[in-house]
């Protein structure tokens, strides 16, 4: 009778049940059994309950984090189990960021640009639906980003075929060392902000979360974020535009 296939012997080493024919062969064939035995050592050593996927959470005592923080020098702290909500919009006495004036810019309506954008995102999903938030009913909501002379660009809201939206950001700005650009949408009071992702000089897309109401967050903002681990806006914006302007 034919020997078991190498794949079947591997499954037998994992103690899976083989089809009846192969099982019978294995019981009577010394060479197949020897192969299973040789393959079995690794699963026997590793497939032990102590190393299995975790089941029960056991919160460690506080000194464990203290030891980790001491060993890594990390100063950020995990939340305790009564999460502190940051007080909204209390201006700090000493603003940590550069104060930049906000200017509204007219939205350029460029249907040719829209066509280019549609082509550019085909790889991410064919554009079959369009957004028509603008009073002109143009296929893509486009906004010029401008704030500081060092940086400029455009941001385009593109609706993909599956209804999801992306923001295509074309950023013309100097490359950064020890910092990065992040794109945000911000509400009109410049209080509520949603980070959308890291961007670099050039063209890229970031996802727009489902359910995000862009009329609530009409300001597109590009900030310079230091590598400090602080997820909040640095306060230093280099480019900004108003989707409703």
């Amino acid at each position: 009778m034919q020997h078991c296939t190498p794949e079947q012997l591997a499954l037998a080493a994992l103690r899976e049940t083989l089809p009846a024919n192969e099982d019978a062969h294995l019981a009577s064939c010394g060479s197949c059994r020897a192969e299973v035995t040789a393959l079995r050592r690794a699963p026997e050593l590793l497939a032990v309950p102590h190393l299995a996927a975790p089941v029960d959470d056991v919160p460690p005592p506080p000194q464990v984090w203290q030891a980790i923080a001491a060993a890594t020098g990390v100063t950020a702290t995990p939340a305790d189990h009564s999460p502190v909500r940051a007080a909204p919009a209390t201006p700090a006495a000493d603003p940590g960021g550069t104060v930049v004036p906000f200017r509204s810019r007219r939205r350029p309506v460029l249907l040719t640009a829209a066509a280019v954008v549609a082509g550019a995102v085909v790889g991410a999903g064919a554009v079959t639906a369009v957004q028509s938030t603008g009073e002109d009913g143009d296929s893509v909501t486009s906004v010029a980003l401008d704030l500081l002379p060092e940086a400029s660009g455009t941001a385009d809201v593109v609706v993909r075929g599956d209804g999801s939206r992306v923001l295509q950001v074309d950023l013309d700005a100097p490359a950064l060392e020890d910092a990065y650009y992040e794109v945000w949408v911000i509400d009109r009071s410049v209080q509520g902000m949603l980070p959308l992702g890291v961007v670099t000089p050039g063209t890229q897309t970031v996802e727009l979360p489902d359910g995000l109401d862009l009329s609530e967050y009409p300001l597109v903002d590009v900030s310079v974020e230091p590598l400090d681990g602080d997820p909040t806006h640095s306060g230093v914006s280099v480019a900004r535009g108003d989707l409703d302007a």
């Binding site: 899976e16 359910g211 997820p231």
Partner: protein, 215 residues
């Protein structure tokens, strides 16, 4: 990695005045993938988030291996410190951060076992010598398991995806190849041939470097 992003709560603050109070937490709860990306990028806050989310899982594993107490706490600490200092090796697109942490935890547990085993053997050898018992080291070869386990976990680290994910499901979640196919959406034949090749690779590693050989 595609998939719609859930709408998060906005950060409340002002651009002009960025009031980050040390020790307080941002109102934003980043999702797991975001924590993974920021962890890989070296953002310190991501280490704190990872600890918030997964220290219980890691410590739970350590407690299962060593019981509650200093040994389990020590392993938990080692896992997060090793993850942070080794974050350049973490590939967010390859595996979720908790899976990576659990993988490191397996290493730390196996390392601790091997260390205990070595101490025990040294103690036994010393006792044998002191008592001038004939027969040499009594446990040569017998305790290869602890060191072989360390070797095997190391070999798993060298597997690419999807091989690694497949063998982890077989070893650590006790899934059959049919269940793995279902879970991963890969064809049965692919799963079987990956399992075969991975088991052969692990066997070879044991034959080349295995403790039993050198005992």
């Amino acid at each position: 990695m595609s998939g719609a992003l859930a709408l998060r709560e906005p950060i409340m603050g002002s651009v002009q005045a960025v009031g980050h109070v040390p020790g307080t937490r941002s109102v934003v709860d980043p999702d797991d993938a975001e924590i993974g990306r920021r962890f890989a990028a070296g953002e310190e806050q991501a280490l704190a988030w990872a600890y918030e989310q997964w220290a219980g899982q890691v410590h739970g594993m350590a407690v299962r291996a060593f019981g509650p107490g200093p040994d389990a706490e020590d392993v938990t600490q080692q896992v997060f410190v090793a993850a942070w200092t080794g974050r350049a090796r973490y590939r967010p697109d390859d595996s979720p951060l908790p899976a990576w942490l659990v993988g490191i935890c397996r290493h730390k547990i196996a390392d601790a076992w091997a260390k205990r085993d070595k101490q025990r053997r040294e103690a036994e050898a010393a006792m044998t010598e002191a008592q001038a018992r004939p027969g040499g080291p009594v446990t040569a070869g017998v305790d290869a398991a602890a060191t072989d386990r360390v070797l095997l976990l190391d070999e798993l680290d060298h597997l690419g995806q999807p091989q690694r994910g497949i063998i982890e499901l077989a070893f650590f979640e006790d899934l059959t190849h049919a269940q793995i196919a279902e879970r991963t959406g890969l064809p049965l034949g692919t799963i079987k041939s990956h399992i075969r090749r991975t088991l052969e690779r692990l066997r070879t590693r044991l034959e080349v470097d295995g403790a039993a050989l050198h005992a």
